[in-house]
């Protein structure tokens, strides 16, 4: 772009928000960089902006304001080199003919229309990118590119430099095809709907009692056409119910699909027999309506949240490759080739893939995936470090002591998997109903048959089959999926996402709740600051502020925010010792901010993480403590829950917070500290074996065992795209205070299902009254069966919606 154009841009964009970054929308602070009359918070954002403008991609900024992402510049250029290795590349690419290749990446950063626009216009940024397409729901990008001119590593590097670094983990190597399981159901529904419409049309003469007046040939033709239309419904659409029914029978169980499949078979056989042999009308219209409505119920059950991953395995936490130190220098090596004894090099923000011993460097490890604790752990040379931790700060070297596949993380996971395999599946309400329902219907049909055998033999067949037809629990089968599906959608609107609708029913059966502490009932990031020591004067506060604003350590940032509003003074000689502290000279004073031993303070006996000491001219002033803050509304949540459920807390932290937690959760809560991940698993298991139905609420990988063992495992996430272990539901932190309402709604939903059952049984009884007498006419069946289904569908939807409204969820 020429200077002239930049001039124009400068004039037209005179309305400018002064302190927010044009690229990413974050506040710029004092260090704003200016270009073209726009301000940027960092050079990374500015670089992306220049790059996009040079390639005529300025539209990116006009679609949304501040759409960009801060690119991570701390990384080395060659860190994606492993992607070009044959073993890795061929497993990642969807298609490759040596010249053109296609690849699909998961890019969780995609969040707005600007992102879609930019990622779909990448071909203008690099000529070797042929095309790209975004799937916004699943946060995925597929790219076709010329692999000869643009190796995979450079393609990923390009995306990363724009801030859209793809999430490439071990689990991507054996990629599955995109989920297309919805397709057969849609097709079955379409076929059933098509046939239903035409069959009803062809049944009109019969509905209106015109079969006597029209020519017999035409009326016969109509009936034959109906059979023809019933064939695809029976042999294609209804397979959806035959398959589960057969598999249940094979396991000598009865589920809701068994009586339904029975009803469908009887309807089809009886109708074909009636029409072909008896010149009768048949029940083809009832058959089609039944299958169609039941398939609609299946559709309700199918709600999935594409952007959330409920089933993450440990493999998605680990990188594909790591930098290995060899005699020739460093080389990126696939994780699968790492063996005990290898020395690996980890940079800022990289995940430790295997257990090992720290050889050199200042390790500051964030084990939040593993433990849920957000405070970083320091390690010195010779210390053990564990797989799953994330290095924050400078580069470290680690000697691998156990292969990645034998790490502590993996053992934890396998322990969890073993528990899940043993976990009994709970029979759903509908299946428990059909357990009694099916034998009852069969008995009633036989009794009817026996009665008519003695009363009037010509009616045996028709009366017995009529009983089976009318008793087909269509409405019964619809009640559960519709009510649970509605509840699931309403909860999703309130930012509580459950994996499938059955989870709603399981939540309703809960008797006890188990919470994790850090990150679950406390807010990660937000802290309640307090200060111990001699209060600093205004000028001293300004000096501390001037020093900490130069560091990006999380505690420095928190301290900076706490002191925000102070005047920034000029500083000299700033230096930062990673993991220990920072120092600088302000005016004539030397300021040190950091850990107790860094400032030479006597640490308080109950030394806690998240404490920052301050000294001025080597005289210790005191310390700031950033204790984790409980989630807003936690107290109300606990008060409401404790009325109906037993509350427990299992935390990996030390006892230091016991009194604070007890204050908030109330005296009835059962508190356990210093719990290892397998302790948590055991705790939940014991509760379950004692007959409790447990909801475990957690957030980190350390809760994964408990989450899987619990009747329902819920994870609390700060934002929907963040990393969470596998669970049954994801609760957005913003909706945490509504947890009691969600549980109450699950209860209400089960009540609604029970009422619907009663309603549909009422219809069934009316139908049976006619059926046992052999009086069930095709028209009566065609009215009664859809009417009962529609009543139940309407009732379930409206009643669930009403309860959600009354509980204040919407």
């Amino acid at each position: 772009m020429s200077d002239q154009v930049r001039q124009v841009v400068r004039q037209t964009d005179s309305i400018e928000v002064p302190l927010s970054c044009y690229h990413c929308g974050d506040p710029c602070g004092d260090g704003a960089i200016r270009e073209d009359g726009r301000s940027f918070c960092c050079s990374g954002c500015q670089t992306v902006y220049s790059l996009l403008y040079e390639h005529g991609l300025g539209t990116y900024y006009t679609l949304e304001s501040g759409p960009g992402l801060k690119p991570d510049q701390a990384h080395r250029v060659d860190r994606f080199a492993y992607l070009d290795r044959d073993g890795v590349r061929s497993r990642l690419l969807d298609f490759d003919d040596g010249r053109t290749a296609r690849v699909t990446f998961s890019v969780p950063q995609v969040h707005c229309s600007s992102c879609i626009w930019l990622l779909e216009n990448l071909y203008r940024l690099h000529e070797s990118i042929l095309s790209s397409r975004v799937d916004f729901q699943r946060r995925r990008v597929s790219l076709s590119f010329d692999i000869e001119k643009l190796p995979l590593s450079r393609l990923v590097g390009l995306l990363a430099s724009l801030g859209y670094e793809p999430e490439i983990s071990l689990s991507d190597l054996d990629r599955k095809q995109p989920d297309r399981s919805y397709r057969p159901l849609y097709a079955r529904l379409a076929v059933a709907g098509f046939c239903l419409g035409n069959v009803m049309l062809l049944s009109f003469p019969r509905y209106l009692g015109l079969e006597g007046t029209t020519e017999t040939a035409v009326s016969r033709l109509f009936d034959y056409l109906k059979i023809l239309l019933a064939v695809p419904v029976f042999f294609y659409s209804a397979v959806e119910f035959f398959k589960p029914a057969l598999s249940a029978l094979r396991h000598r169980r009865v589920n809701m699909d068994v009586p339904i499949a029975l009803g469908i078979v009887v309807l089809f056989v009886r109708s074909t027999y009636d029409i072909l042999l008896l010149n009768g009308a048949g029940y083809i219209d009832s058959l089609c309506a039944l299958v169609f409505l039941l398939l609609v119920g299946r559709l309700y059950q199918m709600k999935t949240y594409f952007s959330l991953a409920f089933d993450r395995s440990y493999r998605s936490y680990l990188p594909i490759a790591v930098m290995k130190k060899t005699v020739f220098g460093e080389a990126s090596v696939p994780l699968e080739e790492i063996k005990a004894g290898d020395i690996i090099v980890l940079r800022n923000r990289e995940i430790i893939p295997a257990d090992g011993i720290l050889l050199s460097g200042q390790a500051e490890i964030d084990y939040s995936f593993v433990t849920g604790e957000s405070a970083t752990v320091r390690a010195e040379s010779g210390d053990l470090v564990y797989a799953g931790g994330r290095q924050c700060g400078s580069t470290i070297e680690v000697e691998v002591t156990r292969e990645p596949s034998r790490s502590y993380l993996l053992q934890l996971w396998e322990e969890t998997e073993a528990v899940v395999r043993q976990k009994p599946t709970l029979a759903t309400l509908a299946n428990r109903m059909s357990y009694y329902f099916t034998p009852a219907v069969l008995a009633l049909a036989s009794l009817t048959g026996i009665y008519w055998w003695f009363a009037d033999r010509s009616l045996v067949w028709s009366a017995a089959t009529s009983v089976l037809i009318v008793a087909c629990p269509c409405a019964l089968a619809l009640a559960s999926p519709i009510a649970l599906g509605t509840a699931q959608r309403l909860m999703g609107k309130a930012r509580f996402f459950v994996k499938d609708s059955d989870v709603v029913e399981r939540i309703a059966s809960v008797t006890a709740l188990v919470f994790d502490k850090t990150g679950t009932i406390t807010q990660s990031g937000a802290a309640e600051p307090d200060y111990v020591g001699r209060p600093p004067s205004n000028i001293e506060q300004a000096m501390i502020y001037s020093v900490v604003r130069q560091s990006t350590h999380p505690l420095s940032v928190q301290l900076r925010d706490l002191l925000a509003g102070q005047q920034a003074l000029p500083t000299i000689d700033f230096s930062e010792q990673p993991g220990r502290g920072i120092r600088a000279v302000v005016g004539a004073h030397s300021i040190k901010v950091g850990s107790a031993d860094y400032v030479n303070a006597d640490a308080a006996p109950d030394a806690q993480p998240n404490v920052v000491y301050v000294s001025i001219d080597d005289a210790v002033l005191g310390f700031y403590r950033f204790a984790n803050r409980f989630r807003p509304g936690l107290k109300e949540v606990a008060t409401r829950l404790v009325e109906r459920f037993r509350l427990s807390l299992v935390s990996g932290d030390h006892e230091g917070d016991r009194s604070r937690v007890s204050d908030v959760l109330g005296p009835c809560a059962d508190l356990h500290f210093n719990q290892s991940p397998s302790d948590k698993l055991q705790f939940v298991n014991q509760k379950i074996q004692a007959g409790e139905r447990v909801v475990m609420v957690g957030d980190g990988l350390n809760d994964a065992g408990g989450l899987n063992a619990a009747t329902v495992g819920l994870t609390v996430v700060e934002d929907d795209s963040s990393f969470s272990p596998s669970s049954d539901g994801v609760l957005s932190a913003r909706s945490f205070r509504q947890l009691p309402q969600f549980i109450a709604l699950a209860h209400d939903t089960v009540t609604v299902i029970k009422l619907s059952f009663a309603l549909s049984l009422l219809y069934n009884l009316v139908g049976l009254w006619f059926a046992v007498q052999g009086l069930l006419s095709p028209v009566l069946a065609a009215v009664l069966m859809p009417a009962s289904s529609v009543t139940v569908v309407l009732f379930s939807t409206l009643a669930t919606g009403y309860f959600a409204h009354r509980r204040g969820i919407l």
Partner: protein, 55 residues
């Protein structure tokens, strides 16, 4: 009444045609992504973008 037969055959054929079209669309992934196209259609056309580039 014979005309009825023709009409019914015709109406079934038309309806079956639409059913076939739906299943074709389904098989070709038209329902795989229901959100992105709704956003994508609001972007300016590629002709306009070409102009934008020349400036």
């Amino acid at each position: 009444m014979d005309v009825m037969l023709v009409l019914i055959g015709f109406s079934l054929a038309v309806a079956a045609g639409f059913l076939g079209a739906f299943i074709w669309a389904l098989k070709h992934g038209q329902y795989d992504d229901l959100r992105t196209p709704a956003i994508r259609i609001l972007f300016e056309s590629s002709a306009d973008r070409q102009k934008d580039k020349k400036e």
